[in-house]
Subunit: 162 residues, 2 copies
């Protein structure tokens, strides 16, 4: 019994030390791998962020090429038939508005709407009979986009109170 | 001596167990924090990636607004003076090419250059006296960008060998 008491605990403790040392080695390995994963993700993100921005720039620029092509065509045809250019340019303008709408920035139509400082920029206030104060009576420069994604506010003339 | 041999090691081993347990707790904590950092970075990246793409889309779209504004102006003035529109539209076209160049996609000028399949798209091959085979003799549709960032290849007519 005395022998067992003397040697028993050390044997158990040695085993426990062995287990703990193994656990330490395992955790050190897991920790190091987690740090490496983090670092790799950080590097990948820096690389991909620039790539994605470039890709989006090229995508959006590419959508405008048909507009530029049609401007070229309108100008070429103008040499033969100057009166045809107005129709051609109207079509190009329509196409440009379609591109903006496709990108999430449709042209706003604000006439008759109440003035909203988050969407509109008042350039003048005028007296208009039978019109509620703050009603938009004229668009001076069109705005594009909506409340969530406003590309440019509409420059407007607003009715003064009667 | 027998006593020392029996009790000495256990005391030392107990101390070692205590140290190892503390090391295990510390490593578990560091590992957990590294995992949490990784997860947070992953989530932040997903969020910011969409935000950055949106921002780049809006930035590029915004560069085209003056072009659209000037198309509008050219059309407005056309009503008063139809002949003025050609000059106006030429200016708008120049402005559009400036926007493309600013985005990193200048219009290419390829006439006289040797055909390069990474930059050009041959739409026809013609016999041209005194011109080396493979020389670009005409641009059918302009290309934009350079070798590194080509937005669109130039559609060209190429000289056949004599």
């Amino acid at each position: 019994m005395t022998d067992e008491q003397a040697t028993g605990p050390p044997a158990e403790e040695s085993a426990e030390i062995g287990e703990l040392q193994a656990r330490v080695a395992e955790l050190e390995d897991q920790w190091r791998r987690a740090l490496a994963d983090f670092d790799n993700l950080r590097k990948r993100v820096a690389r991909e962020s620039a790539t994605q921005r470039d890709a989006e720039r090229a995508r959006v620029a590419g959508l405008w090429l048909p507009v530029v092509d049609n401007l070229d065509l309108a100008l070429e045809h103008a040499a033969d038939d100057p009166s045809a250019i107005v129709e051609g340019v109207r079509a190009v303008r329509k196409q440009a508005l379609d591109v903006l709408a496709k990108l999430g920035f449709p042209q706003r139509s604000d006439v008759g709407e109440p003035f909203d400082p988050t969407l509109h920029e008042a350039v003048a206030v005028v007296s208009v009979p039978d019109t509620a104060a703050g009603t938009i009576v004229q668009v001076v420069r069109p705005g594009y986009g909506d409340g969530e994604h406003l590309l440019r506010p509409t420059a407007v003339v607003v009715a003064k109170g009667d």
